[in-house]
Symmetry: C2
Subunit: 256 residues, 2 copies
């Protein structure tokens, strides 16, 4: 709008087809940008949903192949869930925090707290027998996508792999970053003086989560088919953040 | 960027002066937009920090006028905080959830959980003796700002009053909406079919929180002096959301 004022533009990338194992997400993103007449520039951030990263990495599971353990059968009866899904939740989790009808809140093996270990039954392939696990290592997936985009375009971009999480205390899901590359995950503003020169006391921003939430305004969660978003105009230090840094250690968690 | 793809633009509004009690925020916002050569259009969303709303509403408190209660004195000794600030935290809270050196996590009288009841010691007026309480009724403040902007411009806009909150489970503050008018606070996508026509299971978005977090990418928390942001291009139903709806009732809080 005006070069004198900080401004960012967030654009949903159209026409990304259903992703299959082995697909080159970087190329799909560049194809979509091309349709918009856009080229990547240094400092751009691409936010991609965990769903398409998982699909490209073959993290789809056929439920017919899953044999539930004793523990999964018990938990499934207790929560009235499909025992095969409960089995996958257990495999993807460090521990079960809470349970209720239809929901297991767990600490995911990736460190964050989420419902049903982020296992996704929607938009997989039209069959109710297939579900999608989160990427094995989303920070590594982000770094690979960043490297591949650099290879194809020479641009140095930031990457956020986003997921949608429910939250304690507040209603409604928000976007969070489960993978980060080429940009900060947390932004430490401590020591930066406020308008009157005093030090700010609590001022670490969940920067990559802010980016994921901003992108979530466009990706939606339903049938829009908009699994990638370009964020242009952010001003961030070139650091190698890791989404893992966004997990709050329990001993530092006064909010819990 | 391209009319064919959903796109939003977020612009920080420059040159908003230090706000004083009684100031007309709507006029300050329009003055700033004018400097950018922008006019409000229907559907625009303005995100303003709770800080400038509080200042305009005279929510500044001179600590010299605060007499701590017995309970405040005890809690202050326990947490090594200024007893006068603890007194204000108690007045602004329904209950104290957690305490540690320097921090009281409380359930605010407005319903949300926050550190130190959102009482702000930074950027108040250059004196360490003044602090700022949150607006008395931020949903009402939002409605007033929306009405005043409509009066001045005829535009129907959405308003979010934002605050910056720490979170359970995750590191880093994020923007949240503590006041909303003219737009949804929560967006209920349940029943909207996914790409394969099945119903989505969990799909209520914390829409106004997403908007607050997106704006937070530009407002920062320190000396930028950018307390208002224009979000243009969002597509939302014209409903009268209330930020109060974003507070999760404890009995529905499996995450806690």
């Amino acid at each position: 709008m005006n070069a004198l004022s900080p401004s960012i533009t967030i654009t949903a990338l159209p026409g990304i087809p259903l992703v299959r194992p082995g697909d080159d997400l970087a190329q799909l993103i560049l194809d979509s940008l091309g349709r918009l007449g856009l080229r990547l520039v240094n400092g751009d951030v691409l936010v991609v949903t965990s769903k398409i990263v998982s699909k490209s990495e073959g993290r789809q599971v056929d439920l017919k192949s899953v044999i539930p353990s004793e523990r999964a059968l018990e938990l499934a009866a207790e929560t009235r869930k499909d025992p095969r899904i409960v089995e996958l939740v257990l495999r993807e989790s460090r521990l079960i925090s809470r349970k209720a009808a239809g929901v297991l809140v767990v600490q995911h093996r990736l460190g964050f707290v989420s419902a049903n270990a982020g296992i996704d039954q929607s938009n997989v392939d039209g069959s109710d027998d297939h579900v999608l696990l989160l990427p094995l290592d989303p920070d590594a997936s982000s770094a690979r996508l960043r490297a591949r985009l650099h290879e194809l375009t020479s641009a140095e971009v930031g990457i956020v792999i986003s997921d949608s999480h429910g939250r304690p205390f507040r209603m409604g899901n928000v976007g969070v970053a489960i993978g980060v590359a080429g940009m900060p995950a947390l932004l430490d503003l401590r020591g930066k003086p406020d308008l009157f020169g005093r030090e700010l006391k609590i001022s670490i921003q969940g920067y990559a989560d802010l980016v994921a939430s901003a992108a979530n305004l466009l990706t939606g969660e339903a049938d829009e088919g908009l699994p990638a978003v370009l964020v242009r105009g952010l001003s961030y230090a070139s650091v190698e953040g890791r989404a893992a840094a966004l997990n709050r250690p329990p001993e530092q968690d006064l909010y819990r």
